[in-house]
Symmetry: C2
Subunit: 332 residues, 2 copies
DNA sequence: GACAGGTTCTGGAACGGTCCAAAAAGGGGC
DNA sequence: GCCCCTTTTTGGACCGTTCCAGAACCTGTC
């Protein structure tokens, strides 16, 4: 009653197990009638290869582990899509693990993937334990996707170009005629990069002294509170650039509650082009992070390293695009 | 340079591989000093057990496959959380596979999980190919979670109680004083159940002739259009119960665009308690599906079947709760 | 000091594949 | 029909574990 093995197939087809193995791996060194017999037997028995046995013998799993940092953030879905398309073409499976779900259990979230001996690892989002990753990278290709962090040697990195994205936003606002522009900053490497680029762009346009930065916590609540502070100032900004969409939604609520109309009285911009920003009720102007391209590039890096292991860690920044929707307009 | 095996550990500790195996599986039939030596050797070598070898030998993987139907719908995250907490306590790993991502590749999305010989399968959301599932269910425990569908024999089923949820909403609205109530219906088993229950509840309160049903497509756009139609009627309803949150957001936009204030002029209710409904800018009254409880119960069913395989498929409906927020009030 | 009975430890056979060296079969040419 | 060469097929070792039967080692008793 156990699943059929290659030996069951061999017996039914009247050949040796080695020949079955040969056929199933697509060898052309097999006479057509035998091949047919084997394939028929396999079909009739409903044979499925045992991945464990195969990877034990082959010393590889043809599987790439994807370590997600938090399933609740849906921005990675496009990334996965891009990643999968290329990896699958290369004959590789992907296996998902959610760091957040496994963290509470105390162990390193990558452990299950490592025990499975995945051939490579894609870490999506912020790193779990950077130290542990270094040891892993010595054993298999590792790519960090969708985040900008200091990374152990030999680890590739792919992410959206936050500097360019923040510049696109800032120049869009300046181009519309805004001068007094606020930024709701976030934390971490990403928050840092976006803020810096906002400030640099303002400076480049001679608006350094009109730039305001309020620090939030990348939540709706934080965006709301920071915006209330901002818009209550006597010299209130005419535009607010939020570090992400969710913060931007908070800003939107604040503006509305203060009786300001968006985008008539104040423009707001988000970042990430999440599904929230696409709700017609919000319709946020935002930045698309080119998640698909990030995923594809991560796959490319991984495949490259399978062919030529070792070498320096590379970095690729995907070009983001501005999604102009309903929350930005000329001032007044 | 290959990862250390149990034999490397044995050699370093000066014992046999069998003893190492014994120690690592936590046997108490081992003298403390040997145990110490083995553990030290394992630690020093950075030994990690090879999951493939282990599952080949043990004939089980201690792993449960979770087949997600679409990663883009975040409603399953809580379910996973509940599932994981119990499974992990039972010494089981979970492995995620996204049906939508793998579908394009042509093969059955469950295949990778089956090749890995997972010990059980949780299908989250709508079924992939119901036929294929039947064959799978003969080999391993299968639970369908978070969806209501006809299911092959021997498959357990856990989901939120849609009838009860729809009744909670309808009675909440009636209790507030609403009489002319509309329902924006969806499709599929879930859409059907919610609509039926809405109608039944209205009937039970003698309001059968005040109930209106518009059919949407479970998207924001569909909700928007259906609501425009509804609210332009001369006898416009004072409350709208949408089949899900996203449809409800569409309804909100429509109301706003028609110059109606929510909840003053019209109440709206969603379903699913998604993160969208919690945005303070929307703050939808909605129904929480008890995802955590659904996940826990699915794990329970699975664990039961590991202990006593076979038997009829069971069904459990988790009790939903009403989340009253800002979009419902007394009429006028 | 031999023996019984328990505790600890070990070698070897699985598990289900892949891969390799060698065996068997086939095909010409004489 | 025999020999040689190529194509096709096969048995067996191996991958890293677990598990089992039995070996080796204690400890206490007579």
């Amino acid at each position: 009653m156990r699943p059929p093995t290659i030996r069951d197939v061999a017996e039914r087809a009247g050949v040796s197990k080695s020949l079955v193995s040969l056929v199933l791996r697509g060898s052309d060194q097999v006479r057509p009638e035998k091949r047919e017999a084997v394939l028929r037997a396999a079909r009739e028995l409903g044979y499925r290869p045992n991945a464990a046995a195969r990877s034990l013998s082959e010393q590889r799993t043809r599987t790439v582990g994807v370590l997600l940092n938090d399933l609740r953030n849906p921005w990675f879905v496009e990334l996965l899509d891009g990643l999968n398309s290329l990896l699958h073409a290369g004959g590789l499976q992907t296996l998902l693990a959610d760091a957040r779900l496994n963290r509470r259990t105390g162990q390193d979230p990558a452990d299950p993937l490592l025990d499975l001996r995945v051939d490579g690892l894609v870490v999506v989002g912020t790193l779990p334990g950077p130290a542990a990753l270094g040891a892993v990278a010595e054993r298999m290709p590792v790519v960090l996707a969708g985040a900008r962090e200091p990374v152990p040697p030999g680890v590739d990195q792919v992410a959206g170009d936050d500097e360019q994205g923040a510049r696109l936003v800032t120049e869009h606002l300046i181009g519309l005629g805004h001068r007094r522009i606020a930024h709701l900053a976030g934390y971490g490497a990403v928050g840092e990069l976006r803020r810096r680029s906002f400030e640099a762009t303002m400076r480049a346009h001679g608006l350094a002294d009109r730039a305001v930065v309020e620090t939030g916590d990348m939540t709706e609540e934080g965006g709301y509170r920071a915006t209330v502070r901002l818009l209550s100032r006597p010299d209130r900004p005419t535009a607010v650039f939020a570090v992400n969409d969710i913060t931007c939604v908070g800003a939107l609520s604040a503006a509305e509650e203060l009786g300001l109309r968006v985008p008539h009285d104040v423009s707001v911009v988000g970042y990430d082009n999440t599904s929230i920003s696409r709700l017609r009720h919000l319709w946020l102007t935002t930045v698309d992070n080119a998640g698909h391209e990030v995923g594809r590039r991560a796959a490319r890096f991984l495949l490259d390293r399978f062919e030529r292991p070792g070498g320096e860690g590379r970095v690729h920044l995907a070009a983001p695009t501005l999604e102009i929707r309903g929350t930005t307009a000329r001032p007044f």
